[in-house]
Symmetry: C2
Subunit: 288 residues, 2 copies
């Protein structure tokens, strides 16, 4: 199987490692806009060669689009256009393109009326670290984590099957939902926690002028809470922008909760503080 990967960062690179190591990919063709990252991906051995999008689309059996969601919205139709130009395209096209992005509705809209829509499978492997680039790629990143497959009924059954084999190879648990539900649930469970970390980092950097104090006093708890604030602006800017409505809803609830704490503390209402904390402790039942 020839696998094409557009975007050789943390996600694309980590897929490359395990798809090759576990025998799924015989050859991996990379596409990478940033020359330094392309050179690194070749040097590390993530990919066998680096080409342009068209060559990658024409020569790969499966193309994985692993770029920030703004660029993916533009590139996935381009990959499908390349598929159309292959002689056996149309009903007989056996090629598949998939993405790995964290928001889905705008992507779904961008491919909706493409004649080869059924060759695209929308997916979101929910794994990552706060680091980025080909140097951040690592084996085992996806093992045991959840992967959402969106709008599977819009894709041909064999295209979905090919993508499922990829995520089986990566040892992921698959969950199926439509794009719209995906964007609601990821806003609630993933996107808001990134925003709370970004805001925490901004706050501490502003209030604690002397970085040495942060370094000296940061306990494991602070480090854990602020960890996501290291996440890439290139990746997260289009996510927050594309999932605007769902994110604004969850942010409004979050700001309400912060204000409830603020009021309880200001009024020295220990019973109210205790009730808020005890209620939040319910998360123990769900998160290990």
């Amino acid at each position: 199987m020839v696998v094409g990967i557009i975007g050789l960062g943390l996600i694309g690179g980590s897929m490359a490692i395990d798809l090759r190591r576990r025998g799924f990919a015989d050859e991996i063709i990379g596409v990478e806009a940033e020359p330094v990252n392309a050179a690194a991906a070749l040097k590390i051995g993530l990919v066998d060669r680096v080409t342009d999008l068209k060559e990658c689309a024409l020569e790969s059996d499966v193309v994985i689009v692993a770029v920030p969601v703004g660029a993916a919205t533009r590139l996935i139709p381009e990959v499908l256009d390349c598929f159309s130009s292959v002689s056996d395209a149309g009903a007989g096209c056996a090629k598949v393109v998939m993405d790995v992005c964290s928001t889905k509705e705008q992507l779904a809209a961008a491919v909706k009326s493409h004649p080869l829509r059924s060759r695209y499978v929308a997916s979101h492997p929910m794994a990552g670290t706060e680091y980025s680039g080909p140097w951040a790629a690592l084996s085992g990143l996806f093992d045991g984590q959840a992967c959402i497959i969106c709008d599977a009924e819009e894709s041909s059954p064999e295209a979905v099957g090919a993508v499922e084999r990829i995520y089986d190879t990566l040892n992921m648990r698959m969950i199926y939902m439509n794009s719209s539900s995906h964007d609601v649930h990821t806003a609630y469970v993933s996107h808001i926690s990134h925003i709370t970390s970004f805001a925490l980092a901004l706050t501490v950097l502003e209030k604690e002028k002397d970085e040495k104090h942060i370094f000296d006093l940061a306990s494991g708890g602070f480090s854990s809470t602020v960890r996501l604030a290291k996440s890439s602006a290139d990746m997260w800017t289009p996510i927050l922008s594309q999932n605007k409505e769902n994110i604004l809803h969850v942010m409004d609830t979050y700001i309400e909760k912060m204000n409830a704490f603020r009021q309880a503390i200001e009024q020295e209402d220990e019973e109210a503080i205790r009730n808020l904390i005890a209620e939040s402790n319910r998360i123990r039942r769900i998160i290990r």
Copy 2:
């Protein structure tokens, strides 16, 4: 050396384990208001016996007060009162009492005019987990972490020396500051991150009615950000209440930052979103 520990939870219990294992304590006397926890601490072998506060104060060389800060504010003067009743008390008293609480100004005020003030050393080992009780105690909890010693000039040099030997035994890095600075810096670096986690848990529990979705979709990032929301209400209620002024200041800055994000997202201002994230990324330089 006979060590008394009042409060046999995560912190008191973990100190008991390593002070005994590393040869500092020959005997450990525990005091614990909760009978189930007292029985557990005896059964696990954290302490040799459980007594009341007076017996513990009279028979120990060093008393560690490891209870929530509201109770500590009441108990530390009681321990000093017990010291006064010993025949060689006063200038000749060789006993030491120390606390491990996360806020310091109100404690400092509570002991300020006690005749044996110099036998009390205020300290805050910045280590912990989100779990509590004697079952949560573990060896190595403090290794390599920071410990703040407050108002050292108010304590006698040998009392400070005894406490420094304890933290040396626990492999902690000591930092010295006054109570007022302590409460400012811990509000900035520690207390705010607990509040942001509590609010995150409350938000996700409210918005995501189906807990199965949280369980299925929670990635490592969400788990890390929400981890502190498992923290004990008994411990955190008095901290948030006692450090009110500093916490309100830092919460106001935090709410401003959240509103800045909200506005940038609402206006689909990708440049503003990118700038906020890139600015928050500066935390990479400080936190590993």
